[in-house]
Symmetry: C2
Subunit: 652 residues, 2 copies
Amino acid sequence: MTSGPDEGEEFSLDHVRREGLLPTPGTETVPHDGTGRVAISFTVEDAGGAPASERGVRVPPGVTVFDSASWNGIAIDSTCGGHGTCHKCKVRVEGPSPISRHDVRTFSREQLDAGWRLACLQQATRDLAVVVPPLTTRPKAATVGVGRQVILRPAVQKRYVELSEPDLSDQRPDLRRLLDAIDDLEPRPDLHVLRRLPTVLRSADFKVTAVVVDEVLVDVEPGDTTEQRYAIAFDLGTTTVVATLLDLALGTPVAVASMLNKQQPFGGDVITRISATMMDPDTLPRLQQAAAATLAELTGQVCAEGGVDPGQVYEVAVAGNATMTALVLGIDPEPLGVAPFVMTTEQPPAVLASDLGLAVHPGARVYSFPALGAYVGGDIVAGMLATGMDRDKRTRLFIDVGTNCEIVVSDGSRIVSTAAPAGPAFEGGAIKCGMRAADGAIEVVRLGATAEDAVELGVIGDVEPKGLCGSGLVDAVAELVKVGLLDASGRFVPDEDAKSVAPVLADRLTRIGEERVFVLHRPHPGAPPEDCVVLSQRDVRELQFAKAAISTGWTLLLEELGLEHRDVQQVLMAGSFGSYISPASAVRIGLVPKLPVLRIVSAGNVAGEGAKMALLSVRERAGAAALLQEVTYVELSDRPDFNDRFVDQLGF
Amino acid sequence: MTSGPDEGEEFSLDHVRREGLLPTPGTETVPHDGTGRVAISFTVEDAGGAPASERGVRVPPGVTVFDSASWNGIAIDSTCGGHGTCHKCKVRVEGPSPISRHDVRTFSREQLDAGWRLACLQQATRDLAVVVPPLTTRPKAATVGVGRQVILRPAVQKRYVELSEPDLSDQRPDLRRLLDAIDDLEPRPDLHVLRRLPTVLRSADFKVTAVVVDEVLVDVEPGDTTEQRYAIAFDLGTTTVVATLLDLALGTPVAVASMLNKQQPFGGDVITRISATMMDPDTLPRLQQAAAATLAELTGQVCAEGGVDPGQVYEVAVAGNATMTALVLGIDPEPLGVAPFVMTTEQPPAVLASDLGLAVHPGARVYSFPALGAYVGGDIVAGMLATGMDRDKRTRLFIDVGTNCEIVVSDGSRIVSTAAPAGPAFEGGAIKCGMRAADGAIEVVRLGATAEDAVELGVIGDVEPKGLCGSGLVDAVAELVKVGLLDASGRFVPDEDAKSVAPVLADRLTRIGEERVFVLHRPHPGAPPEDCVVLSQRDVRELQFAKAAISTGWTLLLEELGLEHRDVQQVLMAGSFGSYISPASAVRIGLVPKLPVLRIVSAGNVAGEGAKMALLSVRERAGAAALLQEVTYVELSDRPDFNDRFVDQLGF
């Protein structure tokens, strides 16, 4: 009967009247700890039914018991992955708790009385104690992100079925016959599948594999193809795009490829690209196509490298900042680029991969990460997922350094985030000899006190230095501060002082025109400063402004949570810049709080890792959606005290 | 929080424990009358709150109170049309009844105690007494089908909103801002809308009209366009396709057009067209395109005639038989054409009108009627809706005569249906001088006893007769039986007897070759029978087989319900043939039960009327879905007694 909305009847009468199920008044209002989270204690039983392990977790109210367990690596039986259709995620909840329509179908009265519930339909609205019976299946898990254990619950599911053939006494429609044979999923069909269904069923003697993506039946394949299911995770960066082909049956990466975003010719950063769309209405479709072409080329590369038929790639996940996400979907980005910085939507709808021109399975869907705001986009939400920002009890600071720098602080209960306009310095922009982190870029700088170790340079590709990338810039400034050639205000010391503070380096402090520069690399003896790789006084100012924007950001976020610098237990530096920067230099220039360097961790490409997690588990997508509710965005640009705080942070 | 399936928490604890809401054990099992329906008595209050009218209705268990009322023309306040989102359809249910999550949000404890519930979420699983408060809105209604009152609840909804502009203190995403302003609908966005949304909002000063189709936001239009909303209902016949352009704001037709189905060159009936797809794999796409081109041409015609911008046509409904529906969607029809006659799906998914090449609004959806079986298709479900087969208390027989004849019998509680292979006789096929009901076709035949009124012919277009269409064929045979020139076995009487039984007609009984024929029209005196419009002995046999197939069908269906011919209170003759046939002739040849002719009603184009109803009210679509559950399909082809019964029915 489909005559009413899905949620029609919500509670059957004969269950309401069972007095044994009714909670004692007041029990449902058990106060939680005031952090905005509820506590769930999970007791996992062993095969004999004895308590084998205990684990306490804290989640935002309203999260399901299934997700609460999943997010913390606690496996509960399930084949549908938490869609409410397989009725296998049985747990025992202590104390009174609501009963869903599916609970009534799944459990006997005695079981309901004893607290048995389906974990995926049981929301934790108060502190709960939950008993998880021993697993009857052995769920696979994968380690991704920053040590995150993800139990495999991919949206892409396959079911091999052998159907009885129709006859006059059994004229069930083909689709009904197929769905009747799949007891744990209830997908709705794509038209394209219906078009093929009669032929495929009959040519395959009614032995077929149903391919389901989330809640859609996207294909019916002849024979048993259950082992072949793949997906591609994209980290859609403004500069670089990385694709990872995943084997969803095993949870392992098969191939990885990266390339520059084909949008580069339209500008190096998001603002330039947004401006380009504002000048010329034809630019948006061209940017859309450029992004799509990038994804398409990478798709071809990873499938070729992995030896995988692109027709067996059934899903794609994209983690990008709000502008990249808008552009790849063809959504006008203009409001992202001008105050008050408004997104079109937090959560882009699922689209077909074929709509983006990707030559994967024609029914493949694209999952786009949701965004918190115009400048805390899907890449950061993916990064929070990959670093477990919402699930780690430590106080942690997450920094993704770039032209726009995103900052997140969690104290283990509350999460706050902001965006700081760092400018292009960290990407080598607006720096005299700045360049992207490519061959020839100085990425490490060490200054010494003797002629032999006066200047040691680490150069990408071990070639002749051509310029300075972001990490080299930070190193250079940090070292110059350390040896005393830069003072705390960021000014090169007078020539007359240089000789005394750093005799072996002083002759490198010279001028190009009026501006003072420090020569990092001289291509040949006697080369004029104009031909050298140098750090200029203006470069130092650029870096000062950039790092001050960032440190003002995290300082204000820490204040928001009532924390001080020393309370931070871990700093996660994300993005490619974060992978190369020297923790010691970052501390020295004040880009991160003054902490022991071991607490400063390069988190790597966390956006890409988050995209992989979303493909490996729909529960992680639910986690991304939950983050939107949980994270408080702090807008810095309209704070009256921002400028004062910024000036405070300018010095080294 | 979107971390779990939609139906997550189903019942809030603090409502479970209110003892006042708990039913007395046993009350939920009030026995109903055993027909498979439950009874609902509606008491509609007047503006003063006094009972103004009482009405009892009977519906299949599980139907919502809102639908039960809607289907019976009882209006209950609602702006969302029963999607569970507007929270306006407040009724008072007597006795204990389940409480939904939305009820808890809508009503106070005292109101819940007093039985207040949202009608669209309250399923009738037992007999109920429901009080409907006076309307606060004045819902519009339209009369369609066979005297059916449809309360307008179109899937296409528009909402004009004036939004506050974003600023740094209100950075809500555009979509959120829009949806926050619409309190009674909760649509999800089309990607195409998101692409336009930022520009439209800003160019229209944030004063826009949201266009929602069912649960999808398909457009955002500048300014207030709420009055402009249109849809097109298609009766997609094998032979003829009829389009009706509807004004959804008023519920009235704006323009109607019809044309031959462009699939005609592939064969006149469904079997020929299915066979064509089996011979050549290229035929299916060509048939799909031919059907789509037919719909597209009619779309252009009705929009031009109605002076309506096709871009304001937001929805399309198609009622066609199972083969026509499969072909227009490009679904392989082969299993429909060969035993065991299996459909691909009962309910085709919604597709975009643009996927069918219709130049209407790019977000417009196509609703296809569900089908009961391969030979009781969406056209018949639409016809049942238009004739109220499930809502009329009388015993009624519905016959849609065609090559395949669909028959439905309802006794006011139960509904049974079947399909009878009548062959092409009624469409003029396999008849010597047969032709389609077009200009020149004899559609009425009266035979008299005097030279003056010997043969009176009604000819379509009032032109020289060229042939005989189905209704003329029935008339001719019925009249020849009446005057005694055909005996009860369907044989022309011997020449020697003809003169005595019908002196003025006897000379028209002649021969073409060996075969005896009756001359209906002689183009000029002395014309040889070969040049005349005649009825041949073989034609009579064709008609006998056709009518025997049909009358065997309804005889067996009546038996299935334990009824006799005389129990039938009304016969509905559907389709264009049904509009032209003479009830007296139909009775005389035994095509319908022997009943007073006033009880035999031409129902007209009920498939097209059903399609209109589906566009005017989503509740009627729910009714169509409910019919799938309610109607029992009786397969005749494997009944051992079918042939005996068929032979019994051959005579006149």
